[in-house]
Assembly symmetry: C2
Homo-oligomer: 198 residues x 2
């Protein structure tokens, strides 16, 4: 999606080989009209998949997920990052490593908000090594529901996340695919290549 | 706003005298179309105030704040809860007690996302004792900007938050005002009374 790539070129800041700051319009200050347009694009891309719920992982995926859910006219469900296992209540949990922070957490989904017939679209802001998305996929699988697609704002294509998700059989659509980062340098993949043939 | 009160009667769950669960449509699973309508109501209420930015506190205020920002056609800024003071960078910070959790955090606003000319609308999901909103008001004041209004989904009118904010001179608009909670009991104020005469 050229719209997001153009905005990243204009307002993003490449700090080093791995860190891309988009706090001025994506995940700290949010351009609400732009986010609405990105949500509409996700909804258009996944139209016809029979999506019943949009899932995201707190907290920076909430804005794009909410806009995608609105355009698909379905609910949005927030997966929580808990520091420990919840022993009471009907929940699905799985441990996820956060390589960025060197910590781990229990990704948590309340059973009330998913059913076997649900067809889920997962939305997140960044895709790097795919740990969080793989965790979400495990929870959805545990619940007996199906993960129909994964929508990402910014994919770090030089990391292994996309290939891990595709090898696991998931359809990934990223609105911006970053091929390389360096201080002051942001390069995208030559064409969007986000349609994996489906 | 009767729309939200009706929905709380239908789908909210009063656990005891202080806890009202709205996880099925507000802050865990989010009814995206309903949240869009609540955002539109905030935008209509604060139209004419010259709002330039909508602020919220991570993470359960993000959904209503984003929808309000979209309808006002302004950016949304997320105030972060940090565990410690940030010593580098240009930030405003203030300590906020969380009575619910018995902890405190540094409410943090990056200076890049506020200017002296900004006219801010603060949106949050719950108003109880007003600690978080008072903290946000201090940050906005530190930055030399003006807090033009505070929009709340659910006010616990039996707690002191609203009176604290009004005594400090702020205009508070709550879409649902809960007079009393008990296990299985939810009572609202007799009329919405949310217009404080402005």
């Amino acid at each position: 999606m050229r719209l997001l790539e153009e905005r990243i070129r204009k307002d993003g800041e490449a700090v080093n080989e791995t860190v891309l700051k988009v706090g001025s319009f994506i995940n700290h200050q949010v351009d609400s009209a732009f986010m609405d347009a990105l949500g509409r694009d996700f909804a258009q891309h996944f139209a016809g998949k029979g999506i019943t719920k949009v899932f995201t992982i707190e907290s920076s995926g909430i804005a794009p997920a909410l806009m995608a859910a609105k355009h698909l006219n379905v609910p949005m469900v927030i997966l929580k990052k808990q520091t420990s296992k919840i022993l009471e209540g009907n929940v699905y949990q799985t441990r996820v490593m956060s390589f960025t922070k060197g910590t781990s957490y229990e990704l948590t989904l309340f059973a009330d908000y998913i059913g076997k017939d649900d067809r889920v679209l997962l939305i997140d802001d960044f895709l790097a090594n795919g740990e969080a998305a793989m965790g979400a996929a495990r929870l959805i699988s545990q619940a007996g529901a199906s993960l129909e697609g994964i929508g990402i704002l910014i994919e770090k294509s030089f990391q292994k996340g996309r290939s891990r998700l595709e090898e696991a059989g998931y359809h990934v659509y990223s609105q911006a695919r970053v091929a390389r980062l360096a201080e002051g340098v942001i390069e995208f993949l030559p064409e969007d290549g986000t349609d994996t043939g489906e």
